[in-house]
Amino acid sequence: MSSRRSHSRQSGSSRITEDQIADLVSKLQRLIPELRNRHSDKVSASKVLQETCNYIRSLHKEVDDLSERLSELLASLETDSDQAAIIRSLLM
């Protein structure tokens, strides 16, 4: 992990430095689609954290919707053995 020398404040006292946290925050920012377009210096840590929480919640919801859809599809899949055989032949 690269440390930015110009921003080093506490050098020896804390094991977890500000630079590391700033690195991790910027890494998080790159993962979130909304914040990726903006320049990294202009986004505060608070904003990144807030967007991270919102994004995780939206991902959870998306997974829930998808699993609902998948459960319906799999339920209807079992009733037709020919179709189930086709699916299995495609996936295996």
């Binding site: 500000e18 925050v25 990726r36 608070s46 991270t52």
Partner: protein
């Protein structure tokens, strides 16, 4: 016609090499965040993703076959799919991250103790005092109360990350987000394959009846 992308996503699964994957995982874990490729960041390596896809399909098939004798409600079926997807995701992480261990441990506890749900935290280092750590790196400019609140909310969202230091939490959150993105992609592809094949089936059966 089924789109080639989602088909390839699942068909290449069996070509994954386990030994190659472990060496790739170490390298890709570091590179994964710096890959600002097309739209989304990859989680772990390609072969890990394929392994996840295969396990997901197998586990989902087992789930649907188990639910046949008693007719389940829609919510129960959905929860089963969600649980399976989460568990397979956590297994694909190979226990290297805290959130994956938390997901797996909570599943184990739930199946064993069905009467009373213990909300015990499955942390690997259980003896470590939790209140000590957030105060250790204090007195710096990033510890505004607003940021602290956001950190708390985030720690509640990522499974198994309630009392850990901020740096670890940020790292876990980054990995968890990438994994969730991959899970969404995989389930979307699977849904597309199944629904498209259903359309084909309906189309062919109607034409055969005519």
């Amino acid at each position: 016609m089924i789109s080639m992308d989602s088909q390839i996503f699942f068909q290449n699964s069996y070509e994954a090499d386990a030994s190659l994957e472990s060496s790739r995982m170490k390298r890709r874990k570091i590179e994964a965040e710096s890959h600002s490729s097309e739209t989304e960041v990859k989680w772990r390596s390609e072969s890990t993703q394929r392994i996840y896809a295969v396990k997901l399909v197998e586990a989902l098939k087992r789930t649907s076959s188990r639910n046949d004798p008693p007719t389940p409600s829609a919510a129960a079926g959905e929860r089963a799919v969600r649980d399976v997807a989460d568990r397979v995701l956590a297994m694909a992480a190979k226990g290297r991250t805290r959130w994956s261990r938390a997901i797996l441990a909570s599943r184990l506890r739930f199946t064993r103790l069905r009467r009373h749900r213990k909300v015990k935290k499955p942390s690997s280092s259980a003896g470590r005092p939790r209140k000590l750590l957030p105060a250790a790196a204090d007195g710096q400019k990033k510890r505004f109360p607003a940021v602290e609140n956001r950190v708390k909310v985030l720690s509640r969202l990522v499974p198994g990350c309630r009392g850990i230091p901020v740096a670890n939490l940020l790292e876990e959150a980054g990995d968890y987000i990438a994994a969730l993105q991959m899970q969404v992609r995989a389930m979307t592809a699977l849904t597309e394959i199944i629904s498209l094949s259903q359309d084909d089936r309906l189309g062919s059966s109607s034409s055969s009846q005519a």
